[in-house]
Symmetry: C2
Subunit: 736 residues, 2 copies
Amino acid sequence: MKQRLINSNKIIIVFALLLWAFSNESNAQAESPNLVLTFEAVKEIQASIGSVPLFDKSLESAKSFVENALKNPIEVPVPADAGGGYTHEKHKQNYNEMYQAGILFQITGEEKYGIFIKNMLDQYAELYPTLSAHPQGKRQTPGRLFWQTLNENVWLLHTIQAYDCIQEWLSPKDRQNYIDNIFTPMVKFFMIDCSQSFNLIHNHGTWMVASVGMTGYVLGNQDYVQKALYGSDLDGKSGYLAQLDELFSPSGYYTEGGYYVRYALWPFFIFAEAIHNNEIDLKIYEYRDQILRKALYSALQVTYTNGAFIPINDAIKEKTWLSRELIFATNFVFAHYNQDAELLNLVKLQDEVSLTGPGLEVAKALDDISEIPAFTWKSIEFTDGPKGDWGGVGIIRSGDNSDQETLVMKYGSHGLSHGHFDKLTYLFYDQSREIIQDYGSARFLNVEQKFGGRYLDENDSFAKQTVAHNTVVVDEKSQFDGIRDKSQESHSIRYAFSAQDEQFQFMSAKEKNAYKGVKMHRTMAMVNDEKLYRPVIIDVFRIESDQKHTYDLPFYYKGHFIYSNFEYEAFTKTKSVIGEDSGYQHLWKEAIGKPDKTAQLTWWNGKRFYSIVSNTSTGNEIYFARIGGSDPDFNLRNEPVFIIRARADNYVFASVLEPHGIFDPIAEFTKDSYSSFENVQVILNAEDYTIINLKGKNNIDWNLMISNEDNNPESEHKITFNNVVYEWKGTVGIKK
Amino acid sequence: MKQRLINSNKIIIVFALLLWAFSNESNAQAESPNLVLTFEAVKEIQASIGSVPLFDKSLESAKSFVENALKNPIEVPVPADAGGGYTHEKHKQNYNEMYQAGILFQITGEEKYGIFIKNMLDQYAELYPTLSAHPQGKRQTPGRLFWQTLNENVWLLHTIQAYDCIQEWLSPKDRQNYIDNIFTPMVKFFMIDCSQSFNLIHNHGTWMVASVGMTGYVLGNQDYVQKALYGSDLDGKSGYLAQLDELFSPSGYYTEGGYYVRYALWPFFIFAEAIHNNEIDLKIYEYRDQILRKALYSALQVTYTNGAFIPINDAIKEKTWLSRELIFATNFVFAHYNQDAELLNLVKLQDEVSLTGPGLEVAKALDDISEIPAFTWKSIEFTDGPKGDWGGVGIIRSGDNSDQETLVMKYGSHGLSHGHFDKLTYLFYDQSREIIQDYGSARFLNVEQKFGGRYLDENDSFAKQTVAHNTVVVDEKSQFDGIRDKSQESHSIRYAFSAQDEQFQFMSAKEKNAYKGVKMHRTMAMVNDEKLYRPVIIDVFRIESDQKHTYDLPFYYKGHFIYSNFEYEAFTKTKSVIGEDSGYQHLWKEAIGKPDKTAQLTWWNGKRFYSIVSNTSTGNEIYFARIGGSDPDFNLRNEPVFIIRARADNYVFASVLEPHGIFDPIAEFTKDSYSSFENVQVILNAEDYTIINLKGKNNIDWNLMISNEDNNPESEHKITFNNVVYEWKGTVGIKK
């Protein structure tokens, strides 16, 4: 059963169904509960009560939550509101209450919890058949209980677990009532009415199939289970296993990026655990070379040391790896693989475990360990795409967890519906905070006043546009003309990634499809040197075209502007937006500078200064701009950006980003508030090679040399230009 | 000697001089060092090494600092730069190195430290006589080694301590060289050339007299000491004791506010300790009913629970009570008064003690204590002015230190040269952060690119102006026409302060001089109620005038705008500044709303929502504005403000500020993002009484009743208006 079923094979399907029928029969003997929480785990938990502090705490927290629910009248309102609104939040609260009450019913054996669930299900059984499309259902697939089906899937996923916990205690008549009036029509609604979502290779699809599959296990309905695993057509082209195949690259990278993987992992792991407990022969935790384990570790690596998910694509920046969605994944991976003690860092911070067998196991491990080894954030490249050939995401780090530099470059695929037009963009962190930011998404999660908590118009008109990212915009238009389907057709090309030498790490990628007739190639290196406070980033963005274009390279710096070494015209009494569309309409033009030599731009953030020093000359323009134009509802954060503009056919933006100096207002002490770098020049811009020279204080005189066509790390390069010999080995070299 | 000498009395002066002559003689026998570090303390410290962890750590830190200095060549550059520049920072580094080397010389007895100080002093003795006014000396009193004399005072205060530590070891010839070429000319420069500063009742004056007085003790020069204590004319009208008399109110409040007291306490305590060690009979720690103790506690109370000083007047917001300046004060107050264990919270956070006898004592206490009692931030009113009759500052708090609401209202005197035109302004904190902010000052401390680290032009043109504060601006002009001398002539009037009832705390104050012909009276209450998440603030700002004026009330909220319940016109493609002067030129006009009923304005910050709900109606305008106009150097922070505008003669701004709801993006949970308050009305606006009604969800229907003329807390009030009887006791009453 472990092999992929995408190329449908009727014999295998028939075999699978036979196997299912067999295993189902044997499982029919299994005592309930038997989804995520099992009968055996309940026994173990009962035996451990009072001896495992974190488990006890989590159990107490569930008790206090449900006790509070028991005090209040049950309310199952007619659905009316979108996200954040009263009825929306009430139905969310209801499934959480039932879910936790179910667990407590099992662990404590107290009937009051069962009665509570029964009373609530009675009301749902009355309400649900009366519902049609939700009145607030806009844009996305409307549900019945909720404005989007997604929430309704989550409702079922929790409620079926609650039902599983009390089903043996319920009367046959009640069981039949809930099956007939809730579960069957809801599953039918998902499988038939929402068949497109059901078969979608997307995190919304995962929620749907997980909820249906789990309902199948509980009701003994093999049709539900099989379709959940293999898709409506049972051909393995969709369903849970196809999602595991296609949404993750072989390295475990989730194609929608760090923010969404957190959410996606929840149903992936919940359903995995239910499969594990019902169909052990499927070896789900071994599936695709342990893709579930890789998926969790990949998710953890796409965080910064403060735990925040790197906010590429649509992302809410407040989300960290403490998100409750990861509790299950962490518990299950710890228990089903190698009990990795580093995961206990996360468990400790989460300060909560799942009320499951693995949750008990991880809580015991935390109690037993004397010192948890520090979590290792490392330089790592993730490939994108099911086969790992859709480009990727590179992450380069330096320094320990307390104050780590992290550089992220994105050169993968579009990332489905939540993707941005941001190929070759980068983000930079230092001091446990963002220094060069990605805007993330324009959304206030669950805030009713902000378009019901949904993605805002400005998410499309600004946050997704190329100019909202730290990558080159051509002719003030977004990549792929801002059309998702066009972007989804191709991907960037991984060119080089090297992190062996801590003093000189680099990555390099190309993009040839984002703009017609324009080839782009970005190389970024993190260079450490004893002459400097901290590692610096060298950034070489090479563009080739037959035609002249306007190239804009934005830097969304975080902090307060301190200094530029060139004159600029500032718009101090009135100001206007820069452009009319493609995101430019959201940028206020605050100043325009015309540098005549290498530009230095310095800002302050926290205890340091940061400078971008770039190879400008007469002819370049530098915009000082600020997000917030064309925003009548004040939906955008008013944050600053520098944009370096060039008018050219072939062009190289060569910059160094330097963290420097000390700003200590408490000790009233400031040092080195000027950049060490004074001169950045492109020595050679040719088809096969790019050479950059950087000069600065303390006799800094470095050459960065890039082989543009040959990325064999073993190749030796030697070129002579203007009577100087440049020699290096591998794709990118540095000579100091 | 304890009595005040402001009314000079020649007999007392003569007596003082006699006493001095006597005590000096006895001290002549005291072994050096004998300033802040004493000979006896050195013995005790030597005996304790290795047994008091925090003291050992502080000592090690000094060693590693000085060892590093010993490795490098001594450099005493010709002064060239302003704050943040190389020579400025170098001279600061030099005195720190000498100061710490002196202490190490005493404690370790190692000669290398003495040699280091000697070599450095040799260079200063050569350089100093060659210097005239500093080339960067602008605006403020220029020094010789530094651009302002202030830094030079600090240099002397440290260097004389270093000299004291090695003087017995030095040859008589070296001693004479330093006395003749450094100390005497420098003291002469301070006392004669800068006599105006020397006699100033101001923190700069304190640094100067402390450095001169300490030099006097070391050199046995009673002229220096007496003038430092009693002023140039020895009449007690200036000098250290007069500063203790006049810069602090009887409750210990420092007239320049929280930010500057931190800085001022440093020389106050350093000199106090030197006086204590040299003239025990002066009983300096008992002086003026223990004003030094009160000054420290007042400084600690004008912080928020995150340790940040409440940034009224010119203040850098990064400054917290961890500032090293407070280490001495904390150590000395702990040792010389009642060993208050709550102070150990601060000592623990400072993670450093002074290398003095009291430093050793406090480090021992920290080592001995098993559990430190939590520091108590309390609701408290500080009076302002030497006699406590110049108005004051009220602070009302609710909740424990982990998430405390704090409301601050300012109704004191101008606060000398760092004062702002901000009478009756307020600040509000919650969630360990600012919610309604005071801008603080426009300054980047020690950042050379930002006007040498000095106060920026925008500090005068914006930060000090009335419209930069949360108080009413009349006719778009600042209070007192923005003229400091006029503001300094008067002060606001305390009217009521009550914090006994935790459910209903309030304060009230009046201002009659800020605008000619306009009387202002603001009352603010913190009201707790079981119907609400958290205490709310009710804010009643009553204005009386014979003439029609434009009244603007700004609210500098921190967070992201979420919602208003009225239509507004937003300036989305181009925007302009609101006005031409008085700070309005720095405000971008982003939208204008015209409410026709009670206005609700909601924003989001952290895990909560906040709303201001205000008694607007047709005729009011509400500006949405943002700081940052007329700012070609990008010196200002671009932060938002709502301004409610009214055109009236007599008027009442009545508002409630409500923290409400829950925003939890990690748990994807949002609740109550709308304010509970829906209707705020002024029921009665009369000379003697103001009555406000507030209505909202859950049948909230409250009356807030203010007696405008009688502030006797025992008075009973009963009035009938529109057939309703209103009855309460005391200045402000609430009826729910």
